[in-house]
Symmetry: C2
C-alpha cells in the first residue's frame, strides 16, 4: 500500500522551494514594491498539502515523462491556487485561510486584490519559461490548457457567487455538479493530470479520458471538502469549521436537506442561510448542522462522493500508462485520497 | 498634418468588433454563466479611444510589419485595459468609468472581481492563438512581453495604493516617476510599441529604444491625464472630474503644490487629501483645485509633460522604421497626441 503522505512530501517542499527561491521575486529597494513581494509570498509560505502539483508530477511520471520536465508546470499550478484563493477569499468574505487570517484581512481588499493579479501575471510568464526544457509547441499547449482551466474556474466561481447573491435555492444536484465541475474539477483534477500528461507527450484520446475522469473525481473531492467544512478536525482543516454555512454556500448536504426536511424546517434553514454573513450567529450555524445530522445528509453526500470515485477510477484505469509502476500506483492513490481524506 | 481621429477610427472599431464578435463568448444557456459573459462584454462595449491598440498596429506597420499580424495582439492589449480597469475601479473605489457606473457599482465587488479574472485569463489564451499567424517563437515572445507589462503595472498600482493607505506625503517627483513608469508607461506606450515591433520582427536594440521612449512618454501621458481629471471637459472625459482628489491620488500638481504652498495651506490640503473618499465634500475638492490654480501647479505639471514629450521624440526618431511613411507619421502623431490631447 502506498504511503501517500510520504510521497507527497517528496514533491511539495521542492515545489515550494522552487516558487519561493527561484520563481518569485524576494525583495525590492522600493518599500511599496517590497510589500507587494512579501504579500505575493504570503500564501505560498503557508502550510498546504500540495495535492495538485503532486498529481501533475505523478501523472507525468505515470505516463512515461520525466519528473524534472513537469516541475515548473506543477509550481505554476500551485501559484494558480495561491492567487485564486486570494481573490476567492475577498469574494466570499472569508476570514481564515490555512490557519491564518486571509490576505485581505491582513492588508485590506485593494492591496490583496492587486497582489492576486500580480501573482496571476507572473504565472503566465513562468509558464512561457517551459520553452527551455519542452520547446515552444508543448509550452503553448500547456498555456492553452491553463487558459481553459482558469476560464472554467472563473465560470464556476461566478455561478456560485450569483446563487448566493440572488438567494437562489431552486437548485438541483445537477446544478451543483455543473457548478463544481467548473469551479473545482478542472483545476483540482482534470488539468493537473492533463498537464502532466501533456508534458509526457500523451495522446489526445488519453487527454480526453483524463478530462472525464477529472470531472467526476473533482465533484467527489468537493463534496468531501464540503463535508470536512462541517465536521472536520479544526486543528487540521485550516479554514473555519462551518464557514460554508456562514458564506451561504450551496452544498449537496444542504440541497439534500432542503429536499427531505419538513416544510417549516426547510423554511427555517433557508431563512438562516439567506442572512448576510455578519448577521449569522453561532446558534444559526449549529441549527443548520443539527438538521443535516438529523436527516443524515452529510452521510448522503459522502456516499455520493464515494460513488463518483468508483465511477472515476475505471476511466483512469483505461488511460495508457507507460511509466513506472510506483508512479501509476501513486496516481491512483492520490485520486482515492482526494475523496477519502479526513483532512 | 495627420488627422489622428480619422486614423484611430480605422483601428478601434475593428479591434472592438474582433473582441465582441470573435474573441469573447456571447451567451450561455446557464443563466449565471450568461451573466458573467455579459459582464465581460460590458467595458469592451463602452466608448474608449483605443490609443493602445492603435499604437500597437501603427508601430507594427511603421516597422515594416503587416497590420493583420498585429490585430490579435492589439485586441489583447485592449482586453488587458478592460480587466485591469475593472480591478482598479474596485481598488480605487471609483464610481464612474467611460460615462457609466463602474462594473462593481452595477453588480457588486465579488462578481466584478471575478469578471476581471475571467477576462484576464481569456487574454492569455487568445495571445497563445497568435501561433497560427506568427509561429510559436514569436508568440512566446509576445506572451513574455505581456507578462513583463502586467508585472510592472501591478507594481505601480501597488505603489500608488500603499501611498494612499499609509497617508504618505513624503514623496518627490522622482517617486512619482518611478510609480507612473510602472503603473502607466509600460502598458500605455512601451509595450504597445514593443509588441507591434516584435510582430514586425524588430531588433533587440530597437526594442530597447522603444522601452526608453515609452518610459518618458508614458509619464507625460499620465501627467496630462491627471490634468484633464482636474480641468477636463466633463462631457468628453468619461470619469468624474476631480475624482483623483476624491481618491487621494498623488499627482505632480499636488506634490508641487505641497512644495510651494505656505505651511498652513500645505497642512490644510493634506488634511483634506487624507480624508476617506466618502468624507470629502465638493467644497474640499474645490479648495484643493483653487490652491492648484493659485500656484499654477497644473501649468507647471503640463510644462513638465511637454518636456518629457520633447525628450522622448528623438528616441523614437532613432528607431529603424522600415514601414511606409504614413504609418511612421501616424506613430509620431499618436505619441504627440498622448501628451497634447485635451480629452
Amino acid at each position: 500500500m502506498v504511503d501517500l503522505s510520504k510521497e507527497m512530501v517528496n514533491v511539495k517542499p521542492r515545489v515550494d522551494k522552487l516558487i519561493l527561491e527561484e520563481l518569485l521575486p524576494k525583495s525590492s529597494s522600493i518599500h511599496e514594491v517590497d510589500l507587494l513581494y512579501s504579500m505575493m509570498r504570503d500564501y505560498p509560505s503557508r502550510r498546504a498539502k500540495g495535492t495538485r502539483p503532486f498529481m501533475c508530477v505523478t501523472a507525468c511520471k505515470a505516463m512515461g515523462g520525466k519528473e524534472g520536465d513537469a516541475m515548473l508546470t506543477a509550481a505554476c499550478l500551485e501559484m494558480f491556487q495561491h492567487w485564486i484563493l486570494i481573490h476567492d477569499d475577498i469574494e466570499d468574505g472569508s476570514e481564515m485561510r490555512r490557519d491564518q487570517p486571509t490576505l485581505h484581512k491582513l492588508h485590506g481588499e485593494a492591496l490583496a486584490l492587486n497582489t492576486g493579479d500580480a501573482l496571476h501575471a507572473r504565472m503566465w510568464g513562468l509558464l512561457a519559461g517551459n520553452r527551455a526544457k519542452l520547446g515552444p509547441e508543448k509550452t503553448l499547449q500547456i498555456i492553452s490548457e491553463f487558459s481553459r482551466m482558469v476560464n472554467e474556474t472563473t465560470e464556476g466561481q461566478h455561478m456560485e457567487l450569483v446563487w448566493v447573491k440572488e438567494n437562489n435555492w431552486r437548485l438541483s444536484e445537477s446544478d451543483y455538479d455543473e457548478m463544481v465541475m467548473r469551479k473545482t474539477s478542472w483545476y483540482t483534477v482534470a488539468s493537473p493530470c492533463r498537464l502532466g500528461a501533456i508534458v509526457a507527450g500523451a495522446s489526445e484520446s488519453d487527454l480526453e479520458k483524463l478530462l472525464r475522469f477529472g470531472m467526476k473525481l473533482g465533484v467527489g473531492f468537493q463534496i468531501q471538502d464540503d463535508a470536512l467544512n462541517l465536521v472536520g478536525d479544526p486543528s487540521k482543516y485550516g479554514k473555519e469549521i462551518g464557514g460554508d454555512i456562514l458564506e451561504g454556500k450551496r452544498t449537496v448536504m444542504l440541497l439534500r436537506l432542503l429536499e427531505v426536511a419538513k416544510p417549516d424546517e426547510r423554511k427555517e434553514v433557508i431563512s438562516i442561510m439567506d442572512k448576510p454573513r455578519a448577521a449569522k450567529t453561532p446558534e444559526d450555524v449549529a441549527r443548520v448542522l443539527a438538521s443535516m445530522k438529523q436527516y443524515d445528509t452529510i452521510g448522503y453526500a459522502q456516499r455520493r462522493a464515494r460513488n463518483l470515485l468508483e465511477e472515476a477510477m475505471p476511466i483512469l484505469d483505461s488511460v495508457k500508462m507507460k511509466g513506472d509502476r510506483a508512479s501509476v500506483d501513486n496516481l491512483k492513490a492520490v485520486a482515492r485520497y482526494l475523496v477519502e481524506r479526513q483532512w
